[in-house]
Amino acid sequence: MKRTYLGEFEEIVLLMVAGMDGEAYGVGITHKLNEETDRSVRLNQVHAALHRLQEKGMVASRLGDPTPERGGRRKLLFTVTAYGYRTLQEIKAVRAQLWSTVPITPKLATSL
């Protein structure tokens, strides 16, 4: 089936957005990513990914509340769209399908 290509990083960010259930925004995603995936991600990378996802129609944004450390500026909060959610599920299904073909103890290459 035809679907929009989703990069690996985009996929993770989309998962984050889905996981944070409507409270996802740039800094929040960045921090969580850094903590949970042991990557060093920068804010502008996350923003760029979010921008691409929005262009693809997988996330929607709305304005949130201002906080003091933001200098009174509002957050841009992201929620996953139905299309985005379906895409995630499809990816997951494809992975599961593929996993099911992998033997419990596959032959591993002996030399590198």
Partner: protein, 892 residues
């Protein structure tokens, strides 16, 4: 995590300001808030995690990382903004501009008037400048044409640049230099050498030229009748320009007509269009060069490599290098000439016009400095008029600001206001430029007389329309940009709050501009005064004798074929007898007071000097000074009234005086003669007198040594002094006497005052030009001043009314209103004086004898400027002061 200090508290670290400013600048407005918020939150988090310093670094990195197209790209506006130059708005701009100018008649008249006056002057001047810069560009392959010039070392002067080369050079170059594509050379006649006899009427050509076969291959001529092939086919041919043909025959289809020169019949073989104004070759009569090679002697003379006689033009191949060609010519000289006194170089034809260091030249030249100065003057006038417009529009912002405010509140953006004011300026400048096209056409005949050129103001010519367009664009930029920026920057809130818009700043700019304008005026006035004084001084120095009563007449050379020495002597004797008889005959005429015979055409000498032929006791053998040689009979002094410092004048009764000499003071000094000078041997005779130095040429040059001798056979010039007030009858009598003594000979006469006028023609022209320009400059500054005072008195109407009611006198009110402006003029005088002093000093450096610059000149110019300014200002202020205060106070 550390506890965070509360937001907004001073000790809470803030992100780097500069990075934030950068961010605010590049991020699209609709993204900025959330993006910057994220960044600040991250920064606060990082401060807690890694410390402030590193957080700042990270912040920078993040900001720079955001420089991406999607961040920068601005969102489309929700509302469609009308196209900036939509036709509806444009029409509205022009309508409003028109209404505004109708409402403010005086303002519009003053600004359009001064603009069009200045533009007219600028266009005319630039037309001249453009012509100078376009000299000779109409020939093809102009960048490959060069004139061979030579640096000449001679006894008289060192390092003289001559435009002549040896006759044989052209042929040698043609044969031996492969880089040379085409060579042509030409010769110019002696002054007044050629006299055309058309059916018994004599026309003397000041200069005719002799050209060879390649002349027409190199230079462009437009043939109206005949062709250059037929012209060159026979030596006794003539080529005339259109206007010359018309002058001689009253017709231009004159091929086949005959003209006699001396005793030879020439046939007109071609007629060409008049030389373009931008041509270096302003000749009207052309003769094939082959005519100079007809007799055996002429052919022999032509075989010389020695003397530089012909102007040699060369067209090089595209690949050639002019420097190498010049070296090749030097090698040719070395191989063929015995003397090593010429060093050649190639002068591009385009540079010929601005080359002013030739000692004698056949071409028209202009000092490139003049071109620069004139461009500057045109620009100054234009700027000065633009200053008027700008000044008046700024001054009117008070009135306009309401309109601008309303426009802004209704929703006009800054760019729209800007374009409105631009449109207004475009309208005004367009009107001004159309007016000046009319004015320029009116002034063109006078301008042509003044420049002695034939300019045609043809708008279809690209170079003319280019000029107009350029002037328009410059004017538009000068008058529009500043007012447009200023007016569109008005904050409507301030306006309606009644706050002073930008009063302080804009009056100081206005004052500055007025000061600049008046400085320019004062500068020019000082210039005019100094130039006038110098010319007056020069005229006064020549006033020793009565110029208006002097005329000179020359008997031209008769071209008689002489075959032996005895015959030549016989001829000389006969001529001498006839000339002396003529003199006696002239002396009997009633209107003629005195006659002297001279060797020179006139006592006015154009700097022609000779060297050699003089010897005195104590001269070192290799000392050969150059000097001016006057040969005259003993009657010269009764006319010229030389002041004798020592000794006596020639005496007819003393026969040995034929060998004696009289020197001027400079000659005594330069030749190193020791006292007693009188009685010293000089050539075959002795020195019998020393005359006080007198000016024999213009005062750009220093007086040189003058040697006066009394023995001159064949002195063909007659210096005639007329009875007071009888110049015309004297001339008629003299002409009649000549006609009877030398029938069938053209004769040349000139009045001495005309010669002196010619001597100072350029300087007088400079004076006229300066006067006109400074007059215009005064006019323009006064127009501006008038407009400004009109506005300022209008604004102060109420104040004046109240003052009057309280008992102020008219005089005190005029003083109050004029004081400010007069202060500006005073400052202008202070600024202009040193600049003027420098400028006139530079100008005076060209004169060997000059007036000193006194402080009086500056004072005079200052008083004049003050007077003019006062007059202008008081027209308005007096009107305001005389007005009935009831009128100004009743409507509140």
């Amino acid at each position: 995590m550390n506890p965070k200090p509360p937001a907004g508290s001073p000790d809470r670290p803030t992100p780097p300001r500069l990075a934030d400013r950068l961010l605010e600048w590049f991020v699209a407005p609709h993204r900025l808030e959330t993006l910057q918020g994220d960044l600040h939150e991250e920064f606060a988090y990082q401060v807690g995690r890694v410390g402030e310093q590193r957080a700042r670094w990270r912040y920078w990195r993040e900001v720079l990382g955001f420089i991406r197209p999607y961040v920068i790209k601005r969102a489309k506006s929700e509302y469609t903004s009308p196209f900036l130059l939509s036709s509806v708005m444009l029409r509205n701009y022009f309508k409003i501009a028109w209404r505004n100018s109708i409402n403010q008649k005086m303002h519009s008249v003053l600004s359009v008037g001064s603009l069009s006056v200045a533009i007219t002057a600028a266009i005319l001047i630039m037309m001249w400048v453009q012509n100078e810069l376009r000299f000779d560009t109409y020939h093809s392959s102009i960048d490959r044409i060069f004139l061979v010039t030579n640096q000449h070392q001679s006894d008289i002067a060192q390092n003289v640049i001559v435009e002549n080369s040896p006759y044989l050079l052209a042929a040698a170059m043609r044969q031996q230099l492969p880089d040379v594509e085409l060579v042509t050379h030409m010769a110019r006649s002696q002054k007044n050498e050629v006299t055309l006899n058309v059916n018994g009427n004599y026309f003397t050509e000041e200069f005719t030229v002799y050209v060879d076969q390649d002349w027409f291959r190199m230079f462009r001529y437009e043939f109206l009748a005949g062709s250059w092939q037929s012209f060159l086919a026979h030596p006794y041919s003539l080529m005339l320009t259109q206007s010359k043909a018309r002058q001689l025959f009253n017709d231009i289809n004159v091929t086949g007509r005959r003209i006699r020169i001396d005793s030879t019949e020439y046939v007109v073989q071609a007629v060409v269009k008049d030389n373009p104004v931008n041509s270096s070759f302003q000749f009207d009569v052309y003769i094939p060069l082959s005519v100079k090679l007809i007799t055996k002697t002429q052919r022999e003379e032509a075989q010389y490599w020695l003397y530089p006689t012909h102007k040699t033009f060369v067209r090089l191949r595209p690949s050639a290098n002019p420097t190498q060609t010049a070296q090749a010519i030097a090698a040719l000289y070395k191989a063929n000439r015995d003397k090593d006194d010429l060093s050649p170089s190639l002068l591009p034809l385009q540079a010929l016009h601005f080359q002013t260091n030739f000692n004698i030249t056949a071409f028209e030249h202009t000092d490139v400095r003049n071109v620069n100065i004139f461009t500057l003057l045109a620009l100054v006038l234009l700027v000065s008029a633009c200053v008027n417009y700008v000044n008046l529009s700024i001054a009117r912002t008070g009135i306009r600001s309401k309109e601008i405010g309303i426009r802004k509140i209704v929703g006009a953006g800054r760019s729209q206001l800007f374009s409105q004011i631009m449109a207004e300026s475009a309208l005004i400048s367009l009107i001004a430029i159309m007016l000046s096209v009319l004015l320029a056409n009116v002034c063109l005949p006078a301008f042509n007389t003044f420049t002695n050129k034939q300019f045609i103001f043809d708008l279809t010519e690209w170079h003319i329309s280019k000029l107009l367009l350029g002037t328009w664009v410059v004017t538009l930029l000068l008058i529009s940009v500043y007012p447009a920026l200023l007016l569109s920057s008005i904050n409507p809130l301030n306006l309606f709050r009644g706050a002073g818009l930008f009063q302080v700043r804009n009056t100081s700019i206005r004052k500055g501009l007025i000061t600049v304008q008046f400085s320019i005026t004062v500068l020019m006035v000082i210039g005019v005064i100094v130039v006038y004084r110098q010319i007056e001084y020069m005229q006064r120095q020549h006033n020793a004798y009565n110029r208006s009563q002097l005329l000179t007449i020359q008997v031209p050379d008769e071209h008689v074929v002489i075959s032996s020495f005895e015959q030549a002597q016989e001829q000389t004797k006969k001529l001498q007898f006839r000339l002396e008889a003529l003199k006696q005959h002239l002396l009997t005429q009633a209107a003629i007071k005195q006659v002297a015979r001279m060797n020179l055409e006139s006592v006015v000498n154009d700097g022609y000097r000779i060297s050699g032929g003089i010897d005195w006791d104590g001269r070192s053998p290799d000392y050969q000074p150059s000097y001016v040689s006057y040969g005259a009979d003993s009657d010269l002094n009764t006319i010229m009234k030389f002041k004798l410092v020592q000794g006596r004048w020639f005496d007819k009764a003393i026969s040995s005086d034929k060998e004696n000499t009289i020197l001027n003071e400079t000659a005594v000094k330069q030749f190193g003669l020791t006292q007693p000078v009188i009685g010293k041997r000089f050539n075959e005779g002795v020195i019998i007198g020393v005359v006080k130095d007198f000016y024999y040429q213009n005062m750009h040059e220093k007086i040189g040594p003058v040697v006066i001798k009394a023995n001159l056979p064949n002195s063909r010039s007659f210096l005639i002094e007329t009875q007071p007030g009888q110049a015309v009858p004297a001339l008629n009598q003299a002409i009649a006497a000549f006609k009877s003594a030398f029938p069938d000979q053209p004769l040349f006469y000139s009045f001495m005052d005309e010669e002196f006028e010619a001597l100072y023609r350029n300087d007088t022209k400079a004076l006229q030009f300066m006067s006109i320009i400074s007059g215009l400059s005064i006019l323009i500054s006064c127009m501006g001043l008038l407009g400004i005072t009109a506005l300022s008195t209008e604004q102060r109407q109420k104040e004046i009314g109240i003052r009057k009611v309280l008992g102020a006198s008219v005089a005190s009110i005029v003083a109050l209103l004029s004081k400010d402006f007069l202060k500006l003029v005073l400052v202008a005088i202070v600024i202009a004086s040193p600049v003027a002093w420098y400028a006139v000093n530079r100008w005076l450096q060209d004169f060997a004898y000059k007036v000193s610059i006194e402080w009086g000149v500056f004072a005079l110019a200052g008083v004049f400027a003050l007077f003019v300014a006062l007059l202008t200002v008081s027209i308005q202020s007096a009107k305001a002061a005389l007005m009935n205060p009831v009128k100004s106070l009743r409507n509140e």
